[in-house]
């Protein structure tokens, strides 16, 4: 069990999201940085779908009531066990009654804590993700706070064997960490309404830098930069949006829709972020900058397929290591 002594800024239970219910207006939710979440799970021998804790900027204080296998992937929020710094992107054994804390966010904004057995909360509509706005899913439909007791699932025989060995030195391998940038170049496919924008906007979106505004959250990243505008005002008929849709409301500041986006929207979409670059946005902090670069749809899909192959290779090499646990 995980005893929460401090909740941090926003720590919530998430998995890969709620699919199949968007037609009923139910948002997808799920992790902001799926790559980090998946690797954290794989490192501790979980299924990639298992729930993790998504930790943002100011981390929580968590006490483990039993020995546990954990992994932290994503941004580096200076994690410590009982005051000693620990490494991210690797598996660790934590002893009963150890306490995990966090310090300054060094790189990135969000970190994923996977615990062997997975974070055990009831599934709502096929997912353990927290849907904060509707107050459902995850742990009581909300972010974690002091006094919460979070259960973890049963361990597989392999995970149990690893715990028996219980010495970190035996697990001193790590996976190649994702590279996050303070001013990333985000690859973007032109959106359905791209041609409706005026000439200046069509150029500026790919040439100017945009900063992340303070109003950014799990729903969307609001950007500030050159004011984007349509060639002429146009009323659009609402339609579905997706993770990474870049829509431009009438104030001219683009919004990148993230994990907790609404299912539909009526603002013009100037572009759509390539899925492989979404983690780079998820890891940006308020005040940081990004630039967009055009990518073709075919190229974006190719990169996504390559990323899946990369994850499969990492998974295979982790499984080889896990064979040694037996």
């Amino acid at each position: 069990m995980l005893k929460i002594h401090k909740g941090g800024l926003q720590t919530s239970v998430q998995d890969l999201g709620r699919t199949g219910f968007q037609k009923y207006g139910v948002i997808a939710s799920g992790v902001m940085d799926p790559f980090a979440h998946r690797l954290a799970n794989l490192l501790v021998g979980n299924d990639e779908q298992s729930a993790t804790l998504e930790i943002s900027l100011v981390g929580p204080k968590i006490q483990f009531t039993e020995d546990a296998l954990i992994a932290l992937c994503g941004g580096d929020l200076s994690p410590k066990i009982d005051g000693s710094p620990i490494k991210t992107w690797r598996m660790l054994v934590v002893k009963k009654d150890s306490t995990l804390t966090f310090g300054e966010p060094r790189i990135g904004a969000r970190c994923y804590l996977a615990v062997a057995g997975g974070i055990q909360v009831e599934e709502v509509m096929g997912s353990r993700s927290t849907y904060l706005r509707a107050g459902i899913g995850g742990f009581q439909g909300r972010s974690l706070t002091k006094g919460d007791d979070i259960h973890t699932g049963e361990l597989t025989p392999m995970q149990l064997k690893a715990l028996e060995r219980s010495s970190d030195s035996e697990f001193d391998w790590l996976v190649p960490p994702a590279r996050y940038f303070e001013e990333p170049i985000i690859r973007m496919i032109k959106g359905k309404q791209f041609e409706l924008f005026n000439e200046a906007s069509k150029e500026q979106i790919f040439t100017e830098a945009f900063s992340v505004s303070g109003n950014s959250d799990r729903m969307g990243y609001r950007l500030e930069g050159p004011n984007l505008a349509l060639e002429e005002p146009t009323e659009l008929i609402s339609e579905a949006v997706a993770f990474g849709s870049v829509q431009v409301p009438s104030d001219g500041n683009p919004i990148i829709l993230m994990a907790d986006r609404q299912t539909t929207g009526g603002y013009p979409k100037i572009g759509q972020v390539a899925s492989v670059d979404l983690p780079l946005i998820a890891q940006l902090k308020q005040g940081e900058w990004l630039r967009f670069k055009e990518i073709s749809l075919a190229d974006a899909q190719q990169r996504l397929i390559e990323q899946e192959q990369h994850i499969r290779e990492i998974k295979a090499s982790i499984q080889l290591k896990q064979e040694e646990w037996k």
Partner: protein, 232 residues
């Protein structure tokens, strides 16, 4: 069948089946959605129907854009086939005015009507659900009389209680969960529109016909939350 395809990023495709909101386009949207869901192609993740567009989310590791597009194009030839389209009519009881409908008077004055007339007109519309979006179970309902149309509030309310029925322009609808919003609030229904514990978590679905029925405060208070949704 004229359809316009465009990528909604690298994991979804948008299929526009028309460019204005009308019944024929809506039928096509429903039919394509039903066809996709009943055939369940291997690459399909989920379908989001809207007013004139069906957005199809797929796994690009199984099929790329061109493959998905070609398969959807093929399906479009079958929109004329007999499809099991349910036609449901759902009655939504509403307690109008008072604390539940603080803007009923505004809607009346805006249209030079009495509150009574607004209620009578609101309960006599020929309503259908165009799509579900914005919030879980939130219906975009068409078919309201222009006689009771009203502009959105200048500044949205920060908290609108769940199940509140409102008007914005010539649309009407109800907020399934507590949320900020700018609609003019005319009443509240005792029926829950969002039911996360149910297999289908939204009481209403695109294509449903809606009847608003006036109930008294006493009836509202006595209401036990039965679905009360009769399929006809």
């Amino acid at each position: 069948m004229n359809a316009f395809f465009s990528p909604l990023g690298d994991q979804a495709i948008a299929v526009d089946l028309g460019n204005k909101i009308d019944e024929e386009t809506e039928q096509q949207v429903r039919k394509l959605s039903i066809l996709l869901e009943s055939r369940q192609p291997e690459w399909l993740i989920e379908v989001i129907p809207a007013f004139v567009t069906v957005s199809v989310f797929y796994d690009p590791c199984i099929a790329t854009y061109d493959v998905v597009k070609a398969e959807i194009e093929e399906l479009l030839n079958h929109l004329g086939d007999d499809l099991p389209i349910q036609s449901r009519t759902i009655e939504i009881p509403v307690c109008y005015g008072g604390e539940f409908g603080p803007d009923l008077e505004f809607v009346a004055q805006h249209n030079n009507l009495t509150a009574r007339e607004v209620i009578d007109i609101h309960t006599s519309g020929d309503y259908s659900v165009h799509m579900i979006g914005f919030a879980p179970g939130f219906p975009f309902i068409g078919g309201m009389s222009e006689k009771i149309a009203a502009p959105r509030r200048d500044s949205p309310r920060l908290r609108i209680p769940e199940r509140t029925v409102g008007i914005a322009g010539n649309q009407t609808g109800a907020y399934p969960i507590e949320t900020p919003g700018g609609w003019q609030l005319i009443g509240r229904t005792p029926i829950r529109l969002f039911r996360p514990e149910d297999e289908i978590p939204s009481l209403l679905q695109a294509g449903d016909k809606i009847i608003f029925k006036e109930i008294s405060k006493k009836e509202y208070d006595a209401w036990e939350d039965e679905p009360n949704a009769e399929n006809t």
